[in-house]
Amino acid sequence: MSTIKSLDELKKIRAQMKSATELREKGQDIEKLVQVKVSMGTCGIVAGARETLDGLMEEVKSRGIDNVVFTQTGCMGYCHSEPTVEITLPGQDPVVFGDVSGNRISEIVERYIVEGELVDGVIPVAYKTIHE
């Protein structure tokens, strides 16, 4: 790194570096964040889950939304509707959206993540896990 010559420069560098520890800071209060999981099993990847993940991240970033964390996860079992994305809004139950590609990416970010309004294409929960 080059030399920092003033407090203003230090502040600028701090702003740039914030992202280095951002994920960890967010993790301290994960329940207050929007958690997005993209299903990345073989079927998901073939159906374009990676593009979906990139698209979602890009969309969130371009809108300046900073309370979303992304993780990728294995196959959720909805191979008929890949790519699938599970979104948990703070304090709410997770919701799984199917066939998330193309225009649906920005639609879901806009309407569900920002407005909290349900969008078509929700996959109903048809199973229970041992954690319940």
């Binding site: 790194m1 502040k11 280095a20 520890t21 960890r24 993790g27 294995g74």
Partner: protein, 598 residues
């Protein structure tokens, strides 16, 4: 795509490193590379998380999963299950001993619930070898703001009004110390000295701070330099802390190359640089005058004060000596304000204190709590109570200079004054817990052995007096003591306290005095009945085989390392008391409960 979506933090403190955490780190990097995920998942070597009992620790962000006792072989599974598939690995999660539930998030563990991390704020969170991560956490902002907006006198005032007291043991107000140092002027320079000579048995607070967040010390020393008008900083650190030395040296170099150390820092006219001096590991060198002599290349012997280092310190120049943990608090005070700091803790001891919790507790580790937290909370809530379901007997605080506290002191709120009033002291923060099997005269003997070994020998009370105290304790634990000896112990202790030259000698008899005071009956049992109530003193116990219970299985005879047990198959065995070394191996081996300790 290069967006980082996950962080894997692996503890890189000395404790976890010795349990193969380097191998864990390497495995993570390799596994992630194999899966081409090394761009998306960042592996960070962090400082100590504090929960050393359960190390090595691996933490995953952003879902804040806390894996304990991870082995290099577990890495594959964590990557495959957690990172690739998003499923936690339950067998590596912490299990609450009370509820037997798996807890995935450190925030919900009893060990962390009552803690408040100020000095340790970045330990276990950032990569200590990366200055950017420190800057991201507001690093060097306190220094920058001070240089731009405050006069040295204002800096000292802020430290004074925060009420910060020296964390090295004495508890002297830090702001006042800085003010003294600022008053003396010297043409040839002034020094800021960081005391990283951590010598108390069982203590590792300072080492962990230097390993986990070295930049906070560099920043704080610079702030102190600006406040007192010094341009040179020195860290006196034990050479046997190689990892702390390496991280500190790295921090100094990166601060220097970034312009945060050196000439005209951040465009101000203030110049400051830091050097490291190595100590050979002598307890007395933690005392500031001895420390200074050691740095000058002289023998590490104390001299009487005054003159204080503030007036005549390193090479006779005005010097200000603070301990590592004291410095670690300084940037936080300026970032959050002195009022915030003084609102934590107790009125006369604001802030938090880091303790190295060790001994017979379930959760050994590094613990930071607000002052005023009770001993009971630290030992039972955070420490998880006594190991093996045994009964609590005593807690030793303050290292060899401190004393033992008992059951009835458990509700004492911990701060400098309360601990002194209870008959012990804060010290640098070692906290050793003892259970019913610990013998108090033997504990006193342990500490005396330490101080006798560490005495520099300069003054007679310490050199000769402590040796005599140790001899008497040896007599007592061998069952050869008399009531007269107990009286001599007490009287001689008083003389040594009054007449020794430095803190080491003045406090050396404290473990004796406090155990005499609180466990008098135990001393009397050793002296009058030649009996060790906790069954610890080898000379006073013997092992016997109950002829009615012995089946002649020969197990004990085969296990005995001293060939002290005789008897043939299916015959009753006998222990030869003269040969017996009292190791207890026979008792542990016997399946029929035929061997007992008396």
């Amino acid at each position: 795509m290069t967006d980082v979506k996950m962080h894997v933090l692996v503890c890189g403190g000395t404790g976890c490193m010795s349990s193969k955490s380097q191998e864990i780190i390497d495995n993570f990097r390799r596994c992630l590379e194999e899966r081409r995920m090394d761009q998306e998942v960042k592996v960070i070597v962090s400082g100590c998380f504090g929960f050393c009992e359960k190390g090595p620790i691996v933490k995953i962000a952003p879902d804040n999963t806390f894996y304990v006792q991870v082995t290099p072989e577990d890495v594959e599974e964590i990557v495959e299950e957690h990172i690739v598939k998003g499923r936690k690995v339950p067998r590596l999660l912490y299990v609450d001993p009370k509820t037997s539930e798996h807890i995935s998030d450190s925030k919900h563990m009893d060990f962390y619930k009552k803690q408040m991390r100020v000095a340790l704020r970045n330990c276990g969170f950032i990569d200590p070898e990366n200055i950017d991560e420190y800057i991201a956490r507001d690093g060097y902002m306190a220094l920058g703001t001070i240089l731009e907006t405050m006069t040295p006198a204002e800096v000292i005032d802020k430290v004074k009004s925060s009420g910060l007291r020296g964390r090295g043991g004495g508890g002297f107000p830090t702001g006042l110390k800085w003010e003294f140092a600022s008053r003396y002027s010297s043409e040839q320079g002034k020094y800021v000295i960081c005391n990283a000579d951590e010598g108390d048995p069982g203590a590792f607070m300072d080492r962990s701070i230097l390993e986990g967040d070295p930049h906070s010390i560099v920043e704080a020393m610079s702030i102190c330099g600006y406040a007192i008008g010094a341009d040179k900083g020195l860290v006196y650190i034990r050479a046997e802390y190689p990892l702390a030395v390496k991280r500190l040296r790295g921090a100094i170099e990166s601060a220097r190359s970034t312009g945060l150390l050196g000439k005209d820092i951040l465009g101000s006219e203030f110049s400051f640089d830091i050097d490291i001096r190595y100590g050979a590991g002598a307890f007395v060198c933690g005392e500031e005058t001895a420390l200074i002599h050691s740095m000058e290349g002289e023998r590490g012997e104390p001299t009487s004060k005054p003159p204080f280092p503030a007036e005549k310190g390193f090479w006779g120049k005005p010097s200000n000596v603070n301990n590592v943990e004291t410095f670690a608090n300084v940037p936080a005070i300026f970032l959050k304000g002195p009022d915030w700091f003084s609102s934590i803790g107790t009125e006369k001891s604001p802030g938090t204190k880091v303790f190295a919790l060790a001994g017979k507790v379930n959760n050994v580790g590094l613990v930071e709590v607000p002052m005023g937290t009770t001993l009971r909370e630290v030992i039972f809530d955070i420490g998880g109570g006594i190991r093996g379901g045994k009964r609590f007997k005593a807690v030793q605080t303050g290292g060899p200079s401190g004393g033992c506290l008992t059951e009835k002191d458990l509700d004492t709120p911990i701060d400098f004054d309360n601990l002194l009033a209870a008959g012990s002291m804060m010290g640098s923060g070692g906290m050793i817990v003892m259970d019913e099997t610990d013998c108090m005269p033997a504990v006193a003997k342990f500490y005396l052995e330490f101080t006798v070994e560490e005495s520099c020998g300069k003054c007679t009370p310490c050199r000769v007096g402590n040796k005599r105290l140790l001899e008497i304790l040896e007599k007592i634990t061998e069952g050869k003591g008399t009531m007269e000896d107990l009286k001599i112990l007490k009287d001689l202790s008083g003389v040594i306290k009054d007449t020794s030259l430095c803190g080491l000698g003045q406090t050396a008899p404290n473990p004796i005095l406090s155990t005499l005071d609180k466990f008098w009956d135990e001393y009397v049992a050793h002296v009058e009945e030649h009996r060790c109530p906790s069954g610890k003193c080898r000379k006073l116990i013997s092992y016997r085989i109950d002829p009615d219970l012995c089946r002649g299985c020969t197990m004990c005879a085969r296990k005995c390392p001293a060939d002290a047990i005789s008897g043939s198959v299916k015959e009753i065995h006998v222990i030869d008391q003269d040969k017996c070394v009292k190791c207890g191996a026979c008792m542990d081996t016997c399946k029929f409960g035929a061997i007992s300790k008396i």
